[in-house]
Amino acid sequence: MDLWFTENHTKNARFSMKVDNVLFTKQSEFQRIDIFDTPEFGRVLTLDGYTMLTEKDEFMYHEMIVHVPMSVHPNAKNVLVIGGGDGGTVRELTRFKCVEHIDLVEIDEDVVLSCQKYLPQTASKLDDPRVDKHYEDGLKFIRHHEDEYDVIIVDSTDPFGPGEGLFTREFYGNCYRALKADGIMVNQHESPFYTDTAYAMQRAHERIVQSFPIAKVYEVHIPTYPSGHWLFGFASKKYHPYKNVDFTRWESQGFKMKYYNPRLHVASFALPTYVEDMLKEVEKRDEAK
């Protein structure tokens, strides 16, 4: 038996994983959900045929999307996660004692239910008493919140499919409004490498620059994502993401990490020149306006 899962990273480049067995398949109201076991990457979640996470490398994504803003913010109590139905982001957030409340807004309840059943590695903390789960459109949810959150984490799928509304200026603007005066937003920012995702990355950055006074980009390696080189956006009303960040508070909590550490935190904001150029291009466009 030679069963392989293949994802087209572009029209002309593919990535394949050998599959042991398929555990779950469902066409939900919003997308097709598949969960399967692979010898190389452990259990894998795909949505509409796109890899969302694998057990082997999800720590890179989830540690970096959570610990970067949580180290910068001195006391994040109220956190909003948009998307992130697999629970990995919530898992990392619940490690912080300062966090009193987490709203998780996931459009597709079936993603949460299937991950709770088959992906306990990421979904284990979705029932933490601090977590409120909302199954609705993120854009709709956020419109009704103002000046409420310390940190917003946009843990979305790609800018096509159910997550497309989360890559828009109206969404980032609404996030700005929903954050407190020293709030931070971090979002999944796609990859700079292939043309299509690079365009989405630039577009997202442009939209964020238009909405936030501080908008920086940092990088992370995610081997199973297209090109393996991934970006996150750090947008903030007050705090700079690495200048004057006091890491003692984060260090005092004694977390055992696999990817994140304060040195990498600072270093991850140093970007390859071609990425810097792509970001500058849209920043300039915004200044010209």
Binding site: D137, L139, K140, G165, T168, R169, E170, G173, N174, R177
Partner: protein
């Protein structure tokens, strides 16, 4: 045994499929020969599309003189819409409206109509020499939009012009407003006049009980329907419906005066497929649209300042009914003209709405919309309010400018004219149109007196960024007026 046609059939679609199976060697036009002769075009539009971009032939019938599959498709359309006959139109609803006017009126004959008609109506009068008798539509001063015609105003126009040949009704207007078409049809017939309905924005009325009355049901003699709007067919495809009071053969002759002899099968098959879809699933399609729009209206009205209006406007007369599938939004309380919100939505939020006028925008919602698209629209409107709200001073209040008709549109259009700087034209008679597009309703039509009030409106609309069309001078700095004797 002969096949009995039913709404489940799509005769043109079936004929095209049959033709494809025959794998004919094409020694006829079009010259791209199923796309092979134009690979770039085929690559862009797709082989399936090019393979049915064919000319009329025996097995596909001929729109100029339909005797087989087009005739069947027209019969099915007539049945689906409750008309005696339906004509497939491939020159847009413009061609359907022009056919109505050219069928009903000859040179010098009078047409009773509201002023907020589409330019195609007045264009048709330029062609045939008919003369307009305008019924002033009521105006909603706050919203700055023209409403429907009051029955009493129509009655008065009939009494003053008993020789008029037809009455023209928008069912509904671009904004969704309906007149009492049933009563107006009754009045028309009582006085020996025809009732012509522009249903460019009303195709869906035929398929849902919660919507205003459809023209053919109200007794109209002819109705022009933009199937490509709420009906889902390709742009430029429309239907012309007629009652048994109208000679089918005469209408066909009128259509053939101006219609191409190479009618596009892409357009015709799109009408055929869309008619089948509406006939079989119309109710559920428009249930969904009504649900989406009602949700959007509630959410938009909850943002503050915006006013997405609906049935509360209904007054039983000038607003006899309202089409609840229309999402018209009043923006002026934000200190922003509709056209400014329209531009912001497109430039800053990547959302293209149907149009913005000086006080409203119209977001066109159809079965193709998804709840998440509605969320984007609502979120963007809320962001525009947060980021761009201004105070309201210096906003021009739209007012109905009563046209002063000096002569018929044909006489003015073909008269000796001169081109003047627009500000020097007050007091002269225009020989061309000026309009904002969309909606394409004239501010000034040929034969009408230019007034300072009209010039002020044109300047304001230009300043706010409305797209102005009509005059020979593309920049609307000069205007053609009739030479003074």
């Amino acid at each position: 045994m002969e096949h009995v046609l039913s709404q489940e059939d799509a005769p043109i679609l079936e004929a095209l499929k049959k033709m494809k199976r025959r794998r004919l060697v094409p020694f006829d036009v079009p010259g791209h020969k199923r796309g092979r002769g134009n690979p770039e075009l085929t690559n862009f539009l797709g082989e399936d599309c090019l393979s049915v971009d064919v000319n009329s032939m025996k097995m596909l019938d001929n729109l100029c003189h339909p005797v087989s599959v087009i005739r069947d498709a027209e019969r099915l359309a007539a049945d689906a819409f409750g008309a005696a006959h339906a004509f497939l139109m491939i020159g847009g609803t413009t061609s359907a409206v022009q056919t109505m006017v050219l069928t009903a009126l000859k040179r010098g004959e009078k047409l009773i109509l509201p002023r907020n008609v589409h330019r195609s109506v007045i264009n048709a009068m330029i062609l045939c020499g008919a003369v307009p008798v305008y019924v002033n539509p009521e105006m909603d001063k706050t919203l700055g939009i023209s409403l429907g015609m009051k029955v009493s105003e129509v009655k008065r126009a009939i009494e003053e012009n008993p020789d008029a040949k037809a009455i023209f009704v928008n069912n509904p207007t671009y904004y969704g407003i309906c007149s009492n078409i049933k009563e107006i049809a009754r009045l028309a017939h009582e006085h020996g006049m025809l009732l012509l309905a522009d249903e460019a924005h009303g195709t869906h009325f035929y398929f849902h009980d919660a919507l205003p009355m459809a023209a053919m049901k109200a007794g109209a003699d002819m109705a022009a329907l933009s199937m490509h709007k709420s009906g889902g067919s390709l742009t430029q495809s429309s239907l012309l419906l007629t009652a048994d009071t109208i000679s089918e053969g005469y209408v066909r002759q009128i259509i053939n005066l101006t219609q191409t002899t190479s009618a596009s099968y892409l357009l015709m098959v799109s009408l055929d497929i869309s008619r089948r879809r509406l006939a079989l699933h119309g109710k559920e399609i428009f249930d969904k649209v009504i649900g989406l729009v009602e949700y959007a209206r509630e959410e938009i009205n909850a943002i503050g300042d915006y006013y997405a209006y609906a049935r509360e406007l209904v007054d039983g007369d000038a607003v006899y009914d309202f089409d609840i599938t229309k999402l018209s939004i009043f923006t002026r309380s934000l200190g922003l003209a509709g056209i400014e919100v329209y531009d912001l939505l497109r430039d800053e939020y990547d959302i293209q709405t149907e149009f913005g006028d000086i006080a409203n925008i119209l977001a066109y919602v159809s079965v193709g919309d998804r709840p998440k698209d509605i969320e984007r629209l609502v979120a963007a409107l809320s962001e525009i309010r947060r980021n761009y709200k201004k105070n309201q001073k210096n906003m021009l209040e739209a007012e109905y400018i009563n046209p002063s008709v000096v002569c018929g549109p044909q006489e003015a259009f073909y008269a000796d004219s001169e081109s003047l700087p627009i500000d020097e034209t007050a007091g002269r008679v225009a020989s061309e149109f000026v309009m904002c597009y969309p909606p394409g309703i004239p501010i000034l039509a040929p034969g009408e007196l230019v007034t300072p009030e009209i010039l002020r409106y044109i300047h304001y609309a230009k300043k706010k960024g409305c797209s102005m069309t009509g005059p020979e001078d593309m920049y609307i700095e000069r205007l053609n007026v009739m030479k003074e004797a």
